[in-house]
């Protein structure tokens, strides 16, 4: 199996929104390659005629009645937010003036 490069590890980290230190990049490149190498045995198993298992118990389309119910009050929902303003979560500026 093809080895993962450090550049690919950087790309995956960006997709996962993780800023890694140089040391972490080296470590994860080495470790992920070792893990994926050990997992290569999966590829040897023929599975062309096998359906993927995405729902383990036979439950489908679980609907709730469309009835209004009490929900969490705004101040409680915001209680753990690092920054808030006027009943909203506050994020760093995204759109420039």
């Amino acid at each position: 199996m093809r080895r993962l490069t450090k550049e690919e590890v950087e790309h995956v980290a960006y997709l996962a929104r993780l800023s890694l230190t140089e040391e972490e990049k080296e470590m994860f490149t080495e470790q992920l390659n070792r893990i994926l190498e050990a997992f290569a045995q999966l590829q040897q198993l023929p599975t062309d005629d096998v359906e993927p298992l995405s729902h383990i118990i036979p439950l489908k389309n679980v609907f709730a009645e469309d009835e209004p119910k009490d929900s969490l009050p705004v101040d409680e929902a915001l209680a753990n937010a690092p920054e808030k303003e006027d009943g909203y979560f506050l994020v760093p500026r995204i759109i420039e003036d």
Partner: protein
């Protein structure tokens, strides 16, 4: 006998008969916690004031002759990834270090209704990712049988707390063995019910198709009692099974006569330590004494379960943990712009194992690799499930060791993720197939360390499984085990 040595069923009965008061019970356990904690460190948060206040309320109900519930006055420890309203719930992570949930998980609500008294929140591997509780961002927990060894994981705090009798009951969560493996390491009973049997509402999600909450207890009777409280259909969890709760009296009957038990060949083979095999096979004889018929059975795809699990679980985790972005709750590390803020927050907030699994999952789900990894793993999951379906055509119960090895030393495996993953080899196939399974003490090895036996049942047939476990415990004169602490 000291109060902390009583079983949960005994405590509940004595409270009901007014032989002991809920306040006496709570004080006795809080004293025990104070004595044991400096050595074991099972708890992230201890809640003595709240526990005493609850005890007082239950006492008032009791004096007025009101219905006080089946767990009235019984202390319980809750794993720190299960939301408790007003009590900090950290998942043993820096990113949730100061998170105080605004609501109770359904299981916590059910426990409160039954009169149970929460004494604290237990240590764990960060976000339940690990097999030793060393991945806690705060501190490791120590095994009550040998303080230099790990208690297992990820529910290591819950297992150690029950083992050292800091609480008679605990809740844990099990995604790949996180209830059963620490139960095995700490010489207690740990039960993962069928996926869907216990509500996951309020359980901080790790891998949603595998996660399940369950009991950790000192004996099978207490496990049955706790299970009967939490096994309730919940409309707030869309994967909750709309089935009635199995009646307590029906489960509290030790019975194994005529049962067909299959010993899983692949889980007694390569990678399983000799002494573990011997202890488990010795323990199986007690079931034969009780009238069970024991034979060997092969499940050929189990050797693929480890890679299958370590693709699926991290993939689901990478998606579930995207919510920790420094906006809605938890830590925020300021940076120049929103994406740098996300990246810095997650870098500072997550520990190495969590990052490793997010990376692995993100890679397995990324364009170009999805078919080779994630889709492949889902297909292999089907093959593993089919193996179990076939085995259960012939057998009522399957048995294997819970862990391939006895408890290892703190620090022994922490630098080698693959070696750590191998510790889950016997437990993960059960989560992949969504089955119920219980770990029971098989005895102590030559070093005096606990060895666990795993009994696996058919989906939603917990009654048969628990009755068999109860019969086994009754027949084995070594049980329940008591740690030297």
């Amino acid at each position: 006998m000291e109060i902390f040595g009583l079983t949960a069923r005994e405590i509940s009965e004595k409270v009901r008969k007014k032989e002991i008061s809920p306040k006496e019970v709570v004080s006795a356990f809080l004293e025990r916690v104070e004595e044991i904690e400096p050595k074991v460190r099972a708890f992230i948060s201890i809640t003595p004031e709240l526990a005493m206040e609850t005890a007082k309320q239950i006492e008032e109900h009791l004096m007025k002759g009101e219905d006080i519930g089946l767990l009235a006055g019984v202390p319980i420890a809750i794993k720190d990834n299960i939301c408790t309203k007003g009590i900090r719930t950290t998942c043993a992570s820096r990113i949730l270090e100061n998170f105080v949930p605004p609501y109770d998980a359904t299981v916590v609500k059910l426990l409160k209704e039954a009169g149970a008294i929460i004494v604290g929140k237990t240590n764990m591997d960060e976000f339940a990712m690990g097999s030793s509780t060393e991945n806690s961002a705060f501190f490791p927990t120590h095994n009550p049988y040998d303080l230099d060894r790990v208690p297992g994981g990820s529910s290591g705090g819950s297992a150690a707390a029950v083992s050292a009798r800091e609480a008679p009951l605990a809740l844990g969560s099990d995604t790949g063995g996180s209830i059963r493996q620490p139960a095995s390491f700490c010489g207690i009973v740990g039960f993962k019910p069928t996926y869907g049997r216990v509500s996951r509402y309020g359980l901080v999600a790790f891998a949603s198709s595998l996660d399940q909450i369950g009991p950790l207890t000192a004996n099978v009777g207490d496990c049955i009692l706790l299970f009967s409280i939490i096994a309730q259909y919940d409309p707030l969890d869309s994967t909750s099974a709309p089935l009635p709760t199995p009646p307590l009296e029906e489960m509290l009957v030790p019975e194994a006569k005529g049962l067909k038990i299959g010993l899983v060949q692949e889980l007694f083979g390569e990678g399983i330590e000799e002494e573990v095999k011997e202890k488990v096979l010795e323990a199986v004889k007690y079931l034969e004494e009780k009238g069970a018929i024991v034979e060997w059975v092969s499940l050929p795809h189990l050797s693929y379960a480890l890679p299958c699990y370590y693709i699926i679980a991290p993939s689901e985790a990478s998606s579930n943990l995207a919510r920790y972005d420094g906006v809605k709750y938890g830590l925020r590390v300021e940076a120049d712009g929103i994406i740098p803020m996300y990246m810095e927050t997650r870098d500072k907030g997550f520990g190495p194992e969590v990052k490793r699994r997010i990376m692995l999952g993100t890679y397995a789900l990324s364009a170009g690799y999805y078919d080779a990894y994630y889709l492949k793993a889902l297909k292999v999951r089907t093959l593993i499930k089919r193996d179990f379906d076939k085995a259960f055509e012939k057998f009522d119960i399957l048995i294997s060791p819970t862990s391939p090895i006895p408890p290892f030393k703190i620090g022994e495996k922490i630098d080698d993720p693959l070696k750590m993953y191998m510790a889950d080899i016997c437990t993960i196939p059960i989560n992949l197939a969504a089955l119920p399974a219980i770990s029971l003490p098989a005895g102590l090895d030559s070093q005096g360390l606990p060895v666990g036996l795993q009994m696996i049942g058919k989906p939603f047939e917990e009654v048969v499984l628990l009755k068999t476990a109860f019969a086994y415990e009754e027949a084995n004169p070594l049980l329940p085990l008591k740690p030297p602490i």
